[in-house]
Structures are given as C-alpha cells and as structure tokens.
C-alpha cells in the first residue's frame, strides 16, 4: 500500500483529519501515521485507533501489515 493510499483512506473516513505519514522501512508495508481530528475528542485511544483502522475497511492487518499510530484530538 502506498503512502498516498493510506492518507486517502484515512481522509475519506475522517474528513477533518490532518494526517502525517512516515514510511518506516521503504517496503510499502511499515508506516507510522499521526492523525489529528476533532472527532477523536472524548474517545479512548482504543476507540480512536479503531476509527483509523476501520478506514481501511478490512485491509488493515492484511494488505497493510504495520501502521504505527498516534492519534490526537487537536
């Protein structure tokens, strides 16, 4: 999965998100992403991360092996 695809998936699911992505290994499989969105506020980290993982509708853990996540509400 490419960096651009990751950003697109996240933005489609969380429209107001600002997304910073880093390719950790250059193998198209290990990325880290910082996602900032107001929609995270009041949610636990697990809920926030699930919102991001759900953006990949089932591809997370299969097409995308590792996405190191940092979520912030502002």
């Amino acid at each position: 999965m490419t960096l651009e695809q990751i950003e697109q998936f996240i933005k489609e699911a969380i429209p107001d998100a600002t997304v910073e992505i880093e390719d950790l290994k250059g193998d198209g499989d290990h990325y880290s992403a910082t996602v900032i969105s107001k929609s995270f506020s009041g949610k636990t980290r697990v809920e926030q991360h699930k919102m991001v993982y759900d953006a990949f509708n089932g591809k997370m853990g299969s097409d995308l092996h590792a996405l190191k996540l940092k979520t912030l509400s502002e």
């Binding site: 980290r45 993982y53 853990g61």
Partner: protein, 113 residues
C-alpha cells in the same frame, strides 16, 4: 462476524484465568514479531506476571481474537478482561506511566526489574 463457540470459549478462558493476558505471535521467550517482542519487553520491565498465547499455533485463535476485540492486529493485551490495546497503545501507556497506574489501580502485583 461471530466466532464459533469453542474459539470464543478458549479466548474467554484465557482472559478469565490471567489478570494480564497477552495474545502474541510467538512466545515470551521466542517472540516471532517485533511488535509482540516489544510488549513482552514492556511487561518484563514492569515485572508483572502475565499469561500468553501464541496465535501462530492456531489460525482459529489468530483470527478469532481479532473478531473478539474487533481489533485487526496482533499483539493484543488484556488486563482484568478489558482490551487495553496493541503495541502502540501499550508503548504509549508505558512511556506515560499510565500502564503501571492501571495495574496498580487493579491491584496487580508488579516488581520492576
């Protein structure tokens, strides 16, 4: 997508019988994934006793645990039957001291090495 009964039962048994329970790839002595290894390392540094299951030994468990928690990746850490998170969240909680606090408030013994 619901697990079939005996997979859910196995998961429940593990979670009920271990205050701190880690579903991981490999074993604490031989972790077979960097993320699983890091969580083992954190739990070892904190010095908390924990149960573990090697999901690589059973595809049913490997997929079943993801459905059970509705979390797409392994490792998965549970404390007193609550899903705490995967490697990122456990690391973040460890670095902020939140993980130790969670264990203390749940009356779980730790002896940091």
């Amino acid at each position: 997508m619901k697990n079939n009964d005996h997979v859910s039962q196995n998961i429940e048994n593990e979670i009920n019988s271990n205050e701190v329970m880690l579903f991981m790839k490999g074993t604490p002595v031989f972790p077979q994934c960097g993320f699983s290894a890091r969580v083992v390392d954190i739990l070892t540094k904190i010095g908390v006793k924990f149960g573990s299951v090697n999901v690589l030994e059973s595809d049913e468990m490997r997929e079943g645990i993801k459905k059970y928690s509705n979390w797409p990746t392994i490792p998965q850490l549970y404390v007193k039957k609550d899903f705490i998170g995967g490697c990122d969240i456990v690391t973040e909680m460890f670095e902020s001291g939140e993980l130790l606090e969670l264990l203390n408030t749940n009356g779980i013994d730790v002896n940091p090495s």
